[in-house]
Symmetry: C2
């Protein structure tokens, strides 16, 4: 997409004309609803900049529906209970609205409903889909691909991956994710630099790539720590506070001498902190704790406040929408504004957002 | 459509009321010219039989999409922050899934997006719509009616109502609501029966029918209490804890001798309880407090646990979906299972679910 770099963008036209991108879009595509003086200003800006809408974007803008589906392959109850989805949806909604596209959220009760979702997608009701499919064995991505709808995935899809989990199994699949493995490395490296060597890890559900990648990051660092490969230091959990409590008890029973915990998300860390307190351990003096997410107020309000790996969840949602509207172009340097030094592209079709360690009191 | 046959007909209503079909028709459609005792007889027959007229809804029989839109005319952020919508959606999702219908949730950022929502609805992507439109001046219901999509509303629509808020302005509009006015009456009557006479009311936003109806219920009871009409006892608020705090301070400044508070919802009551505690008042000894909703864990976890008016929110969602799928059939006795002694039909196209006073420690 080198052409995209040098070509004047929709944004540039909007800026020059002093109107929204949606307005430029409407004028360029001959849609109604833009007052004449405004339309004229847009046309002059188009001429002045020599703007030509790129094909992919154009086909999306001249589409019939101005609607994008969001599919979350989780039960409806989880969608509303988990602030992660609310934040992603916020980013998606803002971006789609800015392009006058309707967000069409398709909810399900469970996997039995996935065939119906795929039918709806194939039925010509939307121009594309943003899909959150978390589990390795989920049939939905295959159904959606068969439906032939342009799709951007939220999170690196695990399906179709090689035995080693390599994403190369899905060439051409576009997705947005945070740097789960790199973030985990930063967290564990921080604990090791604090002088901790018996660092435990409470994982997420390992049929989700985010959890598997964070475990890989933990192992990357612990491989260089004497005794760091002890399998008793790792317990699989489920991203919930109750799961974190249970896992922490298990870890203390196995290795009462542990001096640090990397929890795969903040909710899990919350449960771990509770059990550590119960067991009379001081945090961080006896056991240092790091989480992952930095989502909402959770991490600030733990006791003590939680050191954690921050991912930009709302921005990930925004970027997914942007990529779909631009016809699957990658983030960096294509004028979507999604690029910049912070974004790097995966070797496959992924756009990976960086993470940041947020230091608070727990480690 | 054998079910449709078993649905109560206009004829059945006419027979039961002992009037002509033309008379039933006139009453049902809000036309003038029917004397009140006769109109009342018709309304009672309508309620008893569970008759709901809705021409448009019948076209659902031949639906093409097996998909139903849910439109919440509130910003996306509020949809995810307010457990009320999550609960309604849970009921809707279960019911639609049971009928293999896809739930298509259309999210918006604000009113500017409502025209786009209406376009999507008119575009033939869904068989019907379940619409939550909370504000009196919302243009969305009008847009949706123009789109010609069968619709069931969540909550009594305020638009098109008479100056007195009478729902008769919307003949044929099908909606599901709880008995806001009756529930409020029960709450205030309970306080009066406890011996309280200086009962304050913190209202919700009065451009929403639920809030206006609860205020009416409060006034119904307070009209019979000496001094109960003091306008200083009523403060308008916004259904939030912060709003409840602010309103409570205002009430204490105006009437430091108040001995009870009816809060228009539990979140407001939460704020009121905080301020009462700060001010050194004991609940319920000095000031008794009753809320409204009994949604999730809020009311159980206040200090002291909150006496409140329970509405069956998830059931309301389920019933909305059921009514739409059945082509606007009403609850009672039509085999949807929505009926039973608990459900009564409004004199207009509404199905009103009863409320229950849940007694805890605060009153």
């Amino acid at each position: 997409m080198t052409e995209a770099v040098s070509r004047p963008t929709l944004e540039a036209v909007a800026a020059l004309a002093g109107v929204s991108r949606a307005t430029v879009s409407r004028v360029v595509n001959g849609a109604d609803g833009v007052r004449e003086p405004l339309a004229e200003r847009v046309r002059r800006a188009v001429a002045e900049l020599g703007y030509v809408p790129n094909q992919a974007a154009r086909s999306l803008v001249t589409k019939r529906h101005d609607a994008v589906a969001v599919v979350i392959a989780e039960p409806e109850t989880r969608v509303f209970a988990d602030p992660f989805f609310a934040l992603q949806l916020r980013g998606i909604s803002k971006e789609l609205t800015a392009h006058d596209n309707q967000l069409v959220l398709l909810l399900t009760e469970g996997r039995d409903d996935h065939a119906r979702v795929a039918r709806y997608l194939a039925g010509g009701h939307v121009d594309g889909a943003l899909v959150f499919s978390l589990h390795l064995d989920d049939p939905l991505p295959g159904l959606i691909q068969a439906a032939g709808v342009p799709t951007v995935f939220g999170g690196r899809p695990g399906w179709g991956a090689g035995a080693d989990g390599s994403p190369r199994g899905n060439p051409g699949v576009v997705y947005v994710d945070c740097d789960n493995r790199g973030g985990a490395r930063t967290a564990v490296r921080h604990l090791v630099e604090l002088g901790r060597s018996r660092v435990a890890h409470i994982t997420g559900p390992l049929d989700q790539t985010s959890a598997a990648d964070r475990l890989d990051g933990y192992r990357d660092v612990m491989a260089g720590v004497p005794g760091g490969g002890d399998p008793r230091l790792v317990v699989e959990s489920d991203f919930t506070p109750a799961g974190g409590e249970h896992a922490m008890r298990e870890l203390l029973a196995r290795r009462p001498d542990l001096d640090a915990v990397f929890a795969a998300n903040d909710l899990t860390a919350l449960g771990a902190l509770r059990v550590l307190r119960e067991s009379g351990r001081r945090v961080p003096e006896d056991v240092a704790v790091v989480g992952f997410d930095d989502m909402g107020p959770v991490a600030e309000q733990t006791d003590p406040p939680l050191t954690t790996v921050r991912q930009e969840i709302e921005e990930m949602g925004r970027l997914m929408a942007r990529l779909l509207l631009r016809g699957g172009a990658s983030g960096a340097g294509d004028g979507t504004g999604a690029g910049g030094p912070a974004t790097r592209n995966g070797a496959d079709g992924g756009v990976i957002l960086p993470t940041t360690l947020i230091r608070r009191a727990s480690a």
